[in-house]
């Protein structure tokens, strides 16, 4: 067996950045959750003490993940996927409901959130399917099949309901695009988002007028090529219909708190006490930081617990307040560096499975990074998803750790064949 001539070279840069991020995360969780009753760094009743345990267990997980033969992940991808779907299904029987969302299993006080692990399973299953020699992403039936792989966990998570976690599955459009999905899907998604947001911001009528003007402009620009005017009209009508449906979706499908979140980011509502409180306090905390920050455990917004959920989804506001612009930039650069490094390594994969999986990891991390920091700095609507490696929480940390280190293992095993 080729595996006997072990030639494994892990990408130490990724591992290094991972540990830096986890350590910085813990330092900020310590500050954000510090209370009077704390008894030193190793007080396991405290949030930061528990996170210490999660980090310790992550190291154990890493050893396991790296010890397992890399072929295992590809061979058992379907099994892992099915187990993961079952774990999501099982929630409706055994799950614990918190704040209206049934997303956790409760093991005597320790809660696990299977949707954090479903990402890994989906990434593996998708990679396996796409890397199959039979699969061609340019064919509709394969596109549909890939879509179904994504849709199953998405449907189960929507039913919890947990819209934040669902959003993450949009990340898979990137590996699919990389593997041959027509770029029009990406553009379509982008165009739909632009239409959606501008309809909410400016109203259907202005968007309709804009669509007609743009269509007319393109038409006249291409008139020498004798464009089919009917096609233009149909596309324009389709767009306007979409814009009209946006209002319907917004007012009838969205719940009030979703609407509020959009309205605040679009600047239509200013409400720094009610729904806007989180974002407002978070922005104040970040602004307090200035160049160098107020220093560790010295942030006044952080100490006063003004930012709700600061140790979980809003952990970045602690970074902003206590470490300032410089500290924030370090975190941003680490994330950008980690994600680009993963993409870089994914491109180097010899197996298509490894590449698709690497892209999935990078895209998932990117989506979390973008949505979370966008939310904390007030340029994206409030969507409750954690900042990878930073935010408090065992499931999330373990999920991201396994997700990342499977890729590290795949990447490291790449050298077997050279």
């Amino acid at each position: 067996m080729a595996g006997n001539r072990t030639y494994v070279r892990f990408d130490w840069l990724i591992i290094f950045m991972y540990f830096i991020l986890v350590t910085m995360g813990w330092i900020n969780i310590y500050s954000a959750s510090l209370s009077d009753s704390a008894k030193g760094f190793l007080d396991f009743d405290q949030i930061y003490g528990k996170q210490m345990i999660w980090i310790g267990l992550s190291v154990v997980l890493i050893i396991f993940v790296l010890a397992i033969e890399s072929k295992f992940y590809e061979s058992y991808a379907s099994v892992i996927y099915i187990v993961s779907l079952l774990s999501l299904l099982g929630l409706f029987v055994f799950g614990t409901t918190i704040a209206g969302t049934t997303a956790w299993y409760d093991f005597g006080g320790t809660r696990l959130q299977p949707s954090e692990f479903a990402k890994i399973a989906t990434a593996l299953a998708l990679s396996k399917y796409v890397s199959d020699i039979q699969t061609n992403m340019q064919e509709l039936k394969h596109q549909i099949a890939a879509f179904v792989i994504l849709a199953l966990p998405v449907i189960l998570i929507i039913m919890q309901p947990d819209p934040g976690s669902v959003l993450v599955y949009a990340a898979f459009v990137f590996p699919l695009y990389r593997e041959g999905l027509h770029g029009v899907y990406l553009l379509l998604a982008l165009f739909a988002i632009i239409l959606f947001v501008s309809t909410l911001a400016f109203g259907t009528i202005w968007v309709a007028i804009g669509i007609i003007l743009v269509a007319a402009a393109i038409f006249f620009r291409n008139r020498k090529r004798r464009p089919n005017i009917i096609k233009y009209i149909l596309i324009s009508v389709g767009c306007i219909a979409f814009a009209l449906s946006v209002n319907y979706i917004f007012n009838n499908v969205f719940k009030q708190h979703h609407r509020d979140r959009f309205n605040i980011v679009l600047g239509k509502e200013v409400d720094s006490r009610g729904i806007g409180y989180n974002t407002n306090q978070s922005e104040i905390a970040i602004s307090n930081g200035s160049w160098l920050g107020k220093g560790w455990t010295q942030g006044t917004q952080t100490k006063g617990n003004f930012v709700p959920e600061q140790h979980t989804d809003y952990i970045f506001s602690t970074v902003g307040e206590e470490w300032g612009f410089v500290g924030s930039m370090v975190v941003i650069l680490l994330f950008v560096g980690l994600i680009t490094r993963i993409i870089f390594r994914a491109e180097k994969q010899k197996s298509q499975f490894g590449r698709v999986y690497g892209y999935s990891v990078a895209a998932i991390l990117f989506l979390h990074f973008f949505v979370n920091i966008g939310m904390v700095t007030g340029i994206f609507p409030t969507v409750g998803i954690p900042l990878p490696f930073f935010s408090y929480g065992g499931s999330a940390l373990w999920g991201f750790t396994i997700l990342l280190f499977i890729f590290v293992k795949l990447d490291g095993s790449n050298y077997h064949y050279s």
Binding site: D36, F174, Y177, R178, G180, G183, L186, Q281, E283, I284, I286, S287, N288, G289, S290, W291, Q298, T300, Q301, K303, G304, N305, F306, G320, G324, F325, S328, M329, I332, L333, F335, V336, I339, T340, I343, E347, Y359, A362, A363, F366, F369, F370, I373, G374, T377, G378, I379
Partner: protein
């Protein structure tokens, strides 16, 4: 293309977040002010307010602790309401209402349950306070007045209002500030500097310890004590003499400009504006629009000065060289001009200057005045020269004393007469302004200004700006402007005949009835006509009784102006009161007990009631 889309998006996001963070943290960073940070509570430690002493180091006002019962509604546990209400001396319903309001204001922040408990109530309550969770006693400092007079001098402190807070960042809601009298004028000296503590709060507004271990905290600095120029004995005596009269007394030490007494009547006991009944009492004083106890008549009242003003006419006449002390003028029961007569009383005629002053002859001073004005090519220039002389006595403008209220009075200008006579369309002559000669007409003075020009005469040609501060204890200074002599335009030698005239007023003239054994007083009586409006009709009231004086004649120790509204002739009330004040100050005891009895027992309340009676009334009786 397929390889770079995701990388490009990652990098774009990085740039986007960098820009956003730069905007939030560096470009748009709000000023890092501790007091504006919602996570930091600023707590103040209030210093003791400075005491006030009189010129003889008698304590006028100190401080007393006061105790407010406070409540934090969220911390209140079930309690024995009946017993607690008994201790607080309120009914159960009142208690419930107070608690309800406190809860509406904030469940987590303290509200006042009972303000300003006295020491006895505090003693009985403090023992049992532990039983009532959520309630506590907050100690504050209030004024404690050691005397029942000088309310108009000392002034009072009150809670700052929004306008003050906006203009002066030192003050916070609920703090006290001097709002009248010395309390206002010397606010920054008396208040000291409050200490500041920064407390870190959490989002429920609870304290969670000092910010940065108290690095930015400061200690309070006690306010400075002040010594006033007031003679407490004289002030108290003056206020007693003025009971049942309206008007005021100003006594000045001519050699220094120090105000020895500043009496306005009616006044009030300063203690009324302290404690649980403060707002009730203040409202009562504020809405007494007839007697106006909060209105300082000696600083704010602008009155026609009447005959004391003749001394100034004489001085300016001598200065302008239009009259000699030996020049005599005839009096035909008044001063005749055109087909009109400005009346006078019965006295020998013709008179020279000393007798003119002693007998207060209107005709004499009309002649002098006319010569002053007509010395110049036209009456406009004449008026302006005359006015210039008067201004040098501190008339027609704020004197610059250190009390926060005052009026300019009025010395008319040529512009003013041009306007009312429609010059140059119509010409006007000195005779049009002849009433000015005798302190009637357009001339208006505050009693403070009367005392000041009397002091200038006592000094034979200069005065110090009157002031109430004798010493700021600690730095041991007073403002430099109170140490500067202000010279009048009139030469020192020209004061001699006027002083002699004022002495003759006392020896044999209009004030001979107030003679006090052993004291040589120079004075001048005044009887000023005055009018009011009743239902829109101009009605004459009983004359104001006025007296200005200084004593002794040589090396004067006190200059005084007394003004009694509607007291009829000058020596009737004002003269007597001035005499008693002078004797009290110079001798420390009263020999003219007959005069004292007359004044103390006399009342003008019936006179003051006349215009409000709705009935026709007669005056000058």
């Amino acid at each position: 293309m397929r390889k770079i889309v995701l990388i490009a998006l990652v990098l774009i996001s990085g740039v986007l977040f960098t820009a956003r963070l730069f905007y939030l943290q560096v470009y748009d960073a709000s000023p890092d002010s501790l007091s504006q940070n919602s996570a930091i509570k600023v707590m103040y430690d209030y210093p003791q307010r400075g005491y006030m002493f009189d010129r003889n180091n008698k304590l006028l006002v100190s401080n007393q602790p006061s105790y407010d019962v406070m409540v934090v509604p969220k911390d209140v546990k079930p309690l024995d309401t009946l017993e607690f209400c008994g201790l607080l001396k309120i009914t159960k319903e009142e208690f419930k209402e107070i608690l309800r309001k406190a809860r509406v204001y904030s469940p987590r922040l303290p509200s006042v349950v009972i303000p300003q408990l006295n020491k006895a109530d505090y003693a009985s309550l403090s023992e049992k306070m532990y039983k009532y969770e959520g309630f506590y006693i907050q100690r504050r400092s209030l004024r404690e007045y050691q005397v029942d007079h000088s309310a108009n001098v000392m002034g009072y402190i009150a809670e700052v209002n929004n306008a003050i807070i906006e203009n002066n960042p030192y003050y916070q809601m609920g703090e006290l500030i001097g709002t009248a009298g010395v309390e206002k004028e010397y606010e920054e000296v008396l208040r000291g500097v409050k200490g500041v503590k920064y407390i870190q709060k959490d989002r429920f507004n609870r304290d969670i310890g000092p910010y940065k271990e108290g690095l930015f905290d400061t200690l309070p600095v006690r306010g400075n004590d002040v010594q006033l120029t007031i003679d407490a004995t004289l002030q108290k005596y003056g206020e007693e003499l003025m009971i049942h009269k309206r008007g005021g007394i100003v006594a000045i030490e001519p050699a220094t400009g120090e105000i020895l007494a500043l009496v306005t009547a009616p006044s009030y006991d300063p203690s009324l504006l302290v404690g649980r009944d403060r707002s009730k009492n203040f409202t009562k004083l504020w809405y007494d629009t007839i007697a106006k106890p909060l209105y300082d008549r000696v600083l704010m009242g602008e009155y026609p000065p009447g005959s004391p003003f003749k001394t100034l006419t004489a001085l300016i006449g001598l200065h302008e060289n239009v009259v000699d002390t030996l020049d005599t003028f005839s009096c035909y029961r008044g001063y005749r001009y055109g087909n009109r007569t400005l009346g006078c009383h019965s006295h020998p005629s013709p008179l020279a200057m000393v007798s003119g002053i002693a007998n207060s002859c209107n005709a004499y001073f009309c002649n002098v005045y006319k010569r002053i004005i007509d010395k110049y090519p036209n009456p406009r220039e004449g008026i302006d020269h005359w006015r210039e002389g008067l201004l040098s006595f501190g008339l027609g403008d704020f004197l610059g004393y250190d009390l926060p209220s005052g009026k300019r009075g009025n010395i008319p200008t040529s512009k003013y007469y041009n306007k009312i006579h429609d010059f140059p369309a119509h010409n006007w002559s000195s005779l049009a302004t002849i009433s000015n000669a005798i302190g009637q007409g357009e001339v208006l003075l505050t009693p403070m200004q009367m005392a000041n020009f009397t002091a200038a005469i006592a000094n034979r040609g200069y005065y110090y700006t009157p002031h109430i501060i004798k010493n700021i204890i600690g730095p041991d200074t007073i403002p430099q402007k109170f140490k500067e002599k202000h010279y009048t335009t009139v030469e020192p030698e020209n004061f001699k005949p006027v002083v002699e005239g004022m002495f003759q007023v006392y020896k044999r003239g209009t004030a001979s009835s107030i003679q006090i054994p052993g004291i040589d007083i120079c004075g001048k009586t005044g009887t000023a006509e005055n009018f009011t409006k009743i239902n829109g009709k101009r009605v004459q009231l009983t004359d104001h009784s006025i007296f200005v004086a200084f004593a002794p004649k040589d090396n004067p120790k006190i200059a005084i102006a007394v003004f009694v509204e509607n007291g009829y002739w000058g020596s009737r009330w004002a003269g007597r009161i001035a005499g008693l004040m002078i004797e009290k100050y110079l001798k420390g005891e009263i020999t003219r007990t007959d005069m004292e009895k007359y004044v103390l027992e006399g009342s003008l309340e019936a006179e003051y009631a006349k215009p409000y009676s709705g009935q026709p009334f007669s005056i000058n009786k």
